[in-house]
């Protein structure tokens, strides 16, 4: 048996391997120095992520490399998404440092779990096989379940973790069931193999579509699309804000990669079917997300519903690739890159929005209600301006990055002939503008109820400022990021 074993090429998976090794180091360091040097684990985690970034950049040669018996792929898309993921996780760590320290949560296990969650995302991003996707997804999800419950004594957090776990397990079940159906119909677990088998047309369409429904359900859960969205408000609300920040940002990139790899790379033959399913869920998500967000008084819940609508928008781009069963490579790349652009833009905005919630929180005080933003302009004009930029961008007001993201997605939808859908989406985002602008109104026109000085550390202030400026700057120079997304996809499809 041993003779048949061929040593796989480890080179494409170098960042993952590095991260895994470093996680052991973090574990040991925390074990030995954890009690005396509290910041060490955090520092090491950031160093690890920077190291991963360096490795990813060095090993990125623009070619697509498969390894581990075609289970793992390293292409430009993976490199790009991983780099954004590292960046997002680093930002999360910087934003949440003080918050965690104030609540005694900055223990080694937090950083370890964040590292494993990151590893899970990286595996999902690089997956070329159903099994790898599942592996990555579970690694990510299990880490997140634990992270949500990391504040063991908070009943709201443990409840949220429990719900997340139960529903997540069910979604994994649906996904696995769908995968097994597809495997049954095509005889392959490899994404490339599935695509090929369908291309040759020997597989049973009924079984394929049956499997597809479950697959789409699993994906939709991860993205949080209606009606698989119910966990989002409860988990966003229940989890400690630092964890919400993590859940609300980087995993969206992994979920995007998973969706793209499963549906576009693997099941492109069924594009007509899954596009319609996604369309249905996208419209529902945009509608429900925007309407329900208006009724919220808790900003974390409000942002949770806004996530649902944003993901609906992203999916709108993803489902515009194929027009009436005809594949035009140009349209397809345009549509998928608009979705990628939207995801990256959303992560940027989401980091900023939750970062602002963290900024206003302090020891013994959770600034998670809309009222906490009242009169922010009087307390800190600069951060009120940052929040203003983020809210305007999320509402899709020109000229911030959110506007161009929506614009690109809607343009793709219109090109694909979904004009009515695009109009509906715009109407709902108009309704949605209400709750974003309400935050602005509270900040600028109301008197503050909370007048405590903002005590956030300098590194967070600087990074949050950069975050806000980036939201504005990418809006002024939209082409930079857009062409990056297009090139990435062109060279990875």
């Amino acid at each position: 048996m041993l003779n048949n074993f061929v040593m796989p090429d480890l080179y494409p998976a170098a960042p993952e391997i590095f991260l895994l090794c470093m996680s052991f180091l973090v574990l040991f360091v925390d074990l030995i120095f954890g009690a005396t040097h509290r910041g060490l684990a955090a520092l090491l985690t950031v160093v690890t992520l920077l190291g991963c970034a360096a490795i990813t950049i060095v090993t990125a040669d623009g070619h697509t490399a498969l390894t581990f018996s075609n289970m793992f792929v390293d292409d430009l898309l993976a490199d790009f998404l991983k780099l954004v993921t590292y960046l997002a996780v680093i930002v999360v760590l910087v934003y949440s440092r003080q918050y965690l320290a104030d609540r005694g949560l900055d223990r080694g296990e937090f950083y370890l779990l964040v590292l494993y969650a990151t590893l899970g995302m990286m595996v999902m991003i690089s997956a070329a096989n159903f099994v790898t996707i599942y592996l990555g997804l579970e690694l990510l999800s299990l880490s997140l379940y634990a992270l949500v419950a990391i504040d063991r004594n908070a009943s709201r957090a443990t409840e949220a973790a429990m719900k997340y776990f139960v529903l997540g397990a069910m979604a994994s079940g649906l996904l696995l069931y769908g995968m097994s159906m597809i495997y049954g119909a095509t005889g392959s677990l490899e994404i490339g193999g599935v695509a090929q088998a369908m291309h040759h047309g020997q597989s049973d369409k009924t079984i394929l579509v049956f499997g597809l429904v479950f697959l789409v359900a699993g994906v939709a859960f991860k993205l949080g699309l209606v009606p698989f969205h119910m966990w989002i408000p409860d988990v966003y609300h229940g989890a400690p804000t630092a964890v919400t920040l993590l859940i609300g940002s980087a995993p969206k990139l992994a979920a995007f990669a998973m969706t793209l790899r499963l549906l576009v790379y693997g099941l492109f033959g069924l594009a007509d079917d899954w596009q319609k399913m996604l369309l249905l869920m996208a419209v529902l998500s945009i509608g429900l997300g925007n309407l329900a967000a208006i009724a919220q008084t808790n900003i974390k819940r409000m942002l949770a519903y806004s996530t649902i609508s944003h993901m609906g928008f992203m999916i709108l781009g993803l489902m515009s690739g194929v027009v009436g069963g005809v594949v035009d490579p140009f349209t397809a790349v345009n549509a998928y890159s608009s979705a990628l652009y939207y995801t990256v833009a959303y992560v940027l905005m989401s980091l900023g929005a939750f970062g602002m919630v963290l900024l206003l929180s302090r020891a013994g005080y959770e600034a998670e209600n809309l009222d906490d933003f009242r009169g922010l302009n009087q307390r800190s004009p600069w951060f009120a301006a940052v929040m203003l930029v983020i809210m305007f961008s999320m509402a899709g007001i020109p000229f911030f990055v959110g506007f161009f993201a929506k614009f690109a997605v809607l343009l793709a939808a219109i090109k694909a002939g979904y004009t009515v859908v695009a109009v509906v989406a715009v109407m709902f985002s108009l309704v949605g503008a209400f709750y974003y602008l309400r935050v602005v109104k509270l900040m600028y026109f109301d008197a503050p109820v909370d007048s405590a000085p903002i005590t956030a550390p300098m590194d967070m202030r600087i990074l949050l400022s950069i975050n806000g400026v980036a939201v504005a700057a990418f809006g002024l120079f939209p082409d930079a990021l857009m062409s990056l997304c297009t090139t990435t996809l062109l060279r990875s499809l």
Binding site: E159, M162, K163, V166, L167, M170, A171, L174, K205, T206, V209, F210, V213, F214, V216, A217, A220, F221, P227, F228, M230, W231, P233, D234, D273, M277, L280, L288, L291, A292, I294, A295, V431, P478, D479
Partner: protein, 679 residues
Amino acid sequence: MKTLYLLIPLAPLFGAILAGLFGKFIGRAGSHVVTVLGVAISFVLSVIVWKDVQAGHTFNGSVYTWLETGGLTLEVGFLIDRLTVMMMLVVTFVSLMVHIYTIGYMADDPGYQRFFSYISLFTFSMLMLVMSNNFVQLFFGWEAVGLVSYLLIGFWYTRPTAIYANLKAFLVNRVGDFGFLLGIGLIAAYAGSLDYATVFAKRNELAAITETVTGWPLITAICICLFIGAMGKSAQVPLHVWLPDSMEGPTPISALIHAATMVTAGIFMVTRMSPLFELSDTALSFVLVIGSITALFMGFLGIIQNDIKRVVAYSTLSQLGYMTVALGVSAYSVAVFHLMTHAFFKALLFLGAGSVIMGCHHNQDIRYMGGLKKYMPITWITSLLGSLALIGFPFLSGFYSKDSIIEAVHASHIAGSGFAYFAVVAGVFITAFYSFRMYFLVFHGNERYDQAPPDPHHAAHDDAHHADAHDTSHAKGHDDHHEDHGGKPHESPWVVTLPLVLLAIPSVLIGFFTITPMLFGDWFGGAVVIDAVKHPAMAHMAKDFHGASAMAIHGMMTLPFFLAISGVALSWFFYIKRPDIPAAILKAAKPIHTLLENKYYFDKFNEVVFAAGARVIGHGLWKVGDQVLIDGVMVNGTARAVGWVASVVRLFQSGRVFQYAFGMIFGVFALLTLWFNRA
């Protein structure tokens, strides 16, 4: 060179930002140093660019592509040719003079830094406007100068009259901008590009198109729409009503914005668009008629004004009419030539008026001046030169440009040119009359400065001025102004008189030296396109032109010269020799005076028809559209819908896991059902 081009508008912008945002930190002196330096850099660089363009290096290219959408490219780009470079020189030079002058004029105003920030911002916007190579940037500059003009007219924002005036300017300009935007929209729709060069390359195709809805020739529609924009900005009848009121702003900006540069943006724009305007005789006739009406009738109004700034303002209106007339007869280079000479002598006259106002302790009424000649010698001599240039006295700059306009109209045969010729010739007499009426009343005759009644204007102004005079030492140079109007007039400080002298030089000389290359040489090259077959006015003039001195000597024997001289003589007779005559005439011709007093009832008309009409429509829309449809159905309807959805969502978002799980299962079943019933 590209960096240099970029630096020219950015230097004043940088100054504006520093003075505007950090004015408190860098202080008063810091503010004027950075802004003057910024504009001075621009001016020096403009001179360098001018030398470069002289050597034949024109430039047309984009600097930065902002975004591409649906085939349209929006970019920042520069078109540097001789027309542009001339405008750049005029704008930066006059702006520099005004910056320096402001140091003295605004010395004890609490809004000192703000003022410098605004005028530098204006310089930036104006430069962006003239340097643009595409319509988007042109429109940006156009709106930006409008904005700064609005801000500056209302600079003393505690005065109700200033707020009224700036609102009026803003609204009237909106009307013009609407036309302008329509014109740009038509170009974008039919030419598919907003780049000048691309649009001009397609001009023959555009000329062949007929607008589908109205049946008008497209090119005429485009040109008239664009010209409506120019009418707003360059204050042509009937969109002129804002300009006299804009005198509520501080005098330096009246000189810079409302006389020398911004109001000439329309003239510049039409000249830039000459390849399009040349294709439409209808549009040119329209331009010509509007211009002649403005030139003639606005001059009449100048005669009865008593506010020194308003007299100059009406003369600006009338001179803008002259420029427009020149555009109408396809003498674009003459229009721009007059624009340039006018910029110098009108800035000079305005700054001179400002100096007089300072000298008379912020009294602006010329009935209470008189005999200032001996108190303010520099202001006196420079104002005299400016007035002579304005009335077109031979050898001075105004003579060359104005006489060329008259000649061009004379040589033209386009519809409306007969009336235009009458208007511009009669205008010469009127210009001479009101200019020297003001000159004599201010500088000669009896000293009446001690008869001034207390003026509420002054009180308000004084409050704004001296709110912080107690705790600062900046008010030093102006300390003696605090008394009432009755104090003795005095000459202004050197920062005020230096710009006067520097502006007087080009006002006198520039026409003589530049007429030959600008009008009859190939100065503008490809920047101005004239269809010589259809519009031969310029060619006719070139035939009769034998050099600048010959023109001046010949000019002394022509009708306009005699009209100008008789205008001066008549005003001398009326206001120095027999001051009782004007009063008698006033009594005899009461109805005409009333008509002029009310400015031909344009304001009244606007108030009754447009303002009241808008209020009626607005009221209707408010009652029906807003309260019933929008508030009732849309807003409250939406709110109810939101409330309903939220309650439903809350029902499902119960926090119970099994319900959530049920939701998911339901979703899967729904999808399955849908898909298998379909298949």
